[in-house]
């Protein structure tokens, strides 16, 4: 399924960001409504031109070579084509569900942000399988190319109210073999379609801990191999005053609660100093 390619550069406080995302949704709804309300008009104009042609054909059949009404038909059809093309231009695919996920993550974190500071980063929903998102490319003995895509669709950095610096990076990783012409056992060449060899979501969280307020302690809730919602914790690093968490899930559809649950659980590694 294809989605509208949205890219939002974040560098503002939560409310303007949320407002902009809501505005984007409202604008899409407006264009969708306009399209649905008007899509029949070009067709009507197209059909409306046909009677003019019929009148002309009848007049020609009666011996009057009068083709002016065909011009009206041509204008009607031309207008219908121009209107139809203009209408098609505003037609948009739906937004990726991860836009809603990002919106909810920002909305949930909005009260935890340090006053006067901003969310930094991006929401990149332009698509996963793009050339600039290829991180590795292998060619096997048969010349088949397998590509590994890394689509960091959410990158967020925020200075929190408690002095910690939170970095969130949500990444969709895809391993895919490109389509190719293969030769079967019968000797015939066949077009083999692209094949997915792996598809998973990766979530990286890094918290630069405010040493005046927190100390890092082990937590039974979060260890390598633990499961938080759909995420499996792959690695935890608490060295250097920073908590670095690497999680992955094969569930492709992100739910904001899942990301927020990992965030919340990562805070169990921090103990407030007295």
């Amino acid at each position: 399924m294809s989605y509208a390619p949205v890219y939002i550069t974040l560098g503002d406080r939560p409310l303007p960001i949320l407002k902009k995302i809501e505005e984007l949704g409202a604008r899409k709804k407006q264009t969708d409504d306009t399209y649905n309300r008007r899509k029949w008009i070009p067709w009507l104009l197209f059909l409306g031109g046909i009677p003019f042609l019929c009148i002309d054909l009848v007049s020609v059949a009666l011996g009057y070579p009068f083709l002016w009404l065909t011009c009206v038909m041509a204008v009607c059809w031309l207008a219908a084509i121009v209107m139809g093309l203009n209408l098609r231009k505003i037609r948009m695919a739906d937004f990726h569900p991860d836009l809603k996920t990002s919106y909810n993550v920002i909305k949930t974190l909005r009260d935890d942000l340090k006053p006067q500071s901003v969310f930094l980063g991006h929401i990149d929903l332009t698509g996963s399988e793009l050339a600039q998102k290829v991180i590795r490319e292998n060619k096997d003995m048969r010349g088949r190319i397998t590509k590994l895509y890394s689509d960091e669709w959410l990158r967020l950095k925020a200075k929190l109210y408690d002095g910690n610096v939170l970095r969130v990076s949500a990444c969709h990783k895809i391993k895919k073999r490109d389509a190719y012409w293969g030769r079967g056992s019968s000797g015939k060449s066949k077009w083999k379609p692209a094949k997915s060899k792996g598809n998973f979501q990766e979530l990286n969280i890094r918290i630069a801990v405010n040493p005046d307020l927190y100390e890092i302690v082990p937590s039974p809730e979060i260890q390598t191999g633990s499961i938080i919602g759909p995420y499996h914790v792959q690695a935890i690093d608490t060295n250097g005053g920073m908590v670095t968490l690497n999680c992955a899930t094969s569930k492709l559809q992100n739910v904001p609660d899942d990301i927020l649950a990992v965030l919340q659980t990562s805070y169990t590694l921090l103990k407030r100093k007295r």
């Binding site: 550069t9 560098g11 505005e23 984007l24 011996g63 009057y64 207008a79 600039q132 991180i135 490319e137």
Partner: protein, 520 residues
């Protein structure tokens, strides 16, 4: 204030209305149809070489004269054969008032060189027949009303001319050129005085007076196919129109034999007629038919008024004012048997009827009814009436159509102008405060460092690295611009590649995207 679509619609509507007004008020939209109704058919044998609707019996009612390879026939108004006479071929005939009684007579010139004869019919009855000596085969004949005497001029296949009176007595003999046949004989006027213009197939053209004295001669390059004499401008002196294999229409001054103009038409000219095409009665125009199907309307200055194409080689041209507007429309018969009407004003064509064989001869006149057209083709003379029907209200239809089209244009423009624009899908939500901009800058530098780290680890393809770096550096350049705009002092770290416009880090001496060497 106004959207471009509305401005465009206004301009387009003005243009549409201007064109529709022009079409309406110039009467370009006639809404007319042209068809034909056959009145009768009359049979003949062989090929028709001459045919005319003319009163030959003196009863005040037109008859139909038909001359074939070796036969002369006259049908009266009741389709009864009045004259049916066979002759030894070759045969040439002409009609005119030879005895000066105001009635049309027939002069027949026929026979091979050994026995050429002239036969005269006066008032629809045989009058006399004489042997013409010292001539080659019969080729052409014409009755010329010279001042003081009316003579029949006979032309043979060796360029000789013989003038005879109504009794068949030879008045004078002359020669235009030898070795080829007389192709055209026509009466021409010079300052009101009548002469005979003579054309030989070899291209020689001459003007002879009533005594057989040649006034001038002209040599057309190439074989001559058609010679006609008309006083096109009404000055009392005829213009001699010549056409032939050279494909050039030559118009001579009848008085001097000097060309008035020549017009190259690119194909052999097979027929020439004078016509009133533009409705301006002070001058006549010329219609020319070509061997390669071309039909032209030409004015006296040599300008082509219109041109058209028949279905096959043009064989006959006649003129008929179908819509009674004072201009003569052009009926063209061609060798495929099709008769086409070309409108006098613009040359637009309407097919009238198609016959089973080539159109051999065509004439227009009042035979059994007024304004009939007689067409000889495939063994039958078909007499038909060309009808023209006009729907008066159609004239204003272009104006209504213009209004309708303008309305459609405005509806379309309003439709387009009121479509909400598609939202921008690449947006930047960036606070312009000092802290936010500096933080964003730091974040971008982190991202650039990340990409470079991935590259050093080999975790990104060179293409993806460049693409991501280009995007991040572009954002960094935008951030720097915003920072500078906000009045914050920073060390600018980016610059644009003069070749591809990509953003480079300051100090780079080669563009990573396009390979251009960057000089500082």
């Amino acid at each position: 204030m106004f959207k471009p679509a509305i401005i465009f619609a206004v301009i387009l509507s003005v243009m549409v209305m201007a064109v529709s007004c022009l079409v309406t008020f110039l009467g370009l939209s006639q809404g007319a149809k042209v068809d034909s109704q056959t009145a009768l058919t009359l049979p003949y044998r062989g090929t028709v070489h001459s045919m005319k609707i003319i009163d030959l019996t003196g009863d005040g009612v037109n008859d139909l004269f038909v001359q074939t390879d070796n036969q002369v026939m006259v049908y009266d108004n009741n389709q009864q054969v009045v004259i049916d006479q066979s002759y030894q071929s070759p045969l040439a005939t002409t009609m005119g008032d030879l005895d000066g009684n105001g009635r049309e007579d027939i002069l027949v010139f026929y026979g091979p060189a050994t026995n050429t004869r002239a036969s005269v019919f006066l008032n629809g009855a045989f009058a006399t027949e004489v042997r013409i000596d010292n001539t080659a085969d019969a080729s052409r004949a014409a009755i010329i009303p010279f001042v003081g005497q009316r003579l029949g001029i006979l032309g043979d296949t060796n360029g000789n001319l013989v003038a005879i009176d109504q009794n068949g007595q030879v008045v004078w003999q002359a020669s235009l050129s030898s070795g080829d046949y007389i192709r055209g004989l026509d009466d021409a006027r010079v300052n009101g005085e009548v002469f005979v213009a003579v054309a030989n197939h070899d291209g020689t053209v001459g003007l002879f007076d009533a005594n057989g004295q040649q006034r001038w001669s002209y040599q057309l390059s190439g074989a001559l196919r058609r010679m006609r004499a008309f006083d096109l401008n009404g000055d009392g002196t005829s213009e001699i129109l010549l056409g032939g294999d050279g494909g050039t229409l030559v118009v001579l001054d009848g008085g001097t034999g000097q060309p008035i103009f020549t017009k190259s038409l690119g194909q052999t000219i097979v027929e020439i007629r004078e016509a009133e095409l533009n409705g301006e009665p002070s001058s006549r125009e010329i219609v020319v038919g070509g061997r390669s199907n071309g039909v032209w309307g030409i004015d006296l200055a040599g300008n082509i008024l219109w041109s058209g194409t028949a279905s096959a080689r043009v064989s006959q041209i006649s003129l008929l004012d179908v819509d009674a507007n004072g201009s003569e429309d052009v009926l063209v018969g061609d060798e495929s048997g099709k008769v086409t009407l070309f409108r006098a004003d613009n040359g637009s064509s309407n097919s009238i009827q198609t016959f089973g064989g080539a159109v051999e001869r065509m004439d227009i006149g009042n035979f059994t009814a007024s304004g009939q057209t007689a067409i000889a083709s495939a063994g039958n003379v078909t007499v038909l009436k060309v009808n023209y029907t006009q729907l008066g209200f159609m004239r204003f239809v272009p104006l209504l159509i213009g209004l309708f089209v303008s309305l459609a244009i405005f509806v379309a423009a309003g439709f387009i102008a009121s479509i909400p624009p598609k939202p921008d899908l690449r947006i930047s939500v960036t606070e312009q405060s000092r802290e936010a901009l500096i933080a964003q800058r730091r974040m971008l530098k982190e991202s650039i460092a990340d990409v470079e780290r991935l590259r050093s680890l080999g975790n990104v393809t060179p293409e993806a690295y460049l693409a991501r770096l280009k995007d991040l550096r572009h954002q960094l350049a935008e951030n720097e611009a915003s920072i500078l705009k906000a009045g914050i002092k920073i060390n600018v770290e980016t610059r644009s590649c003069p070749n591809c416009g990509g953003t480079l880090m300051l100090g780079a001496d080669k563009c990573e995207y396009c390979g251009q060497v960057v000089l500082h």
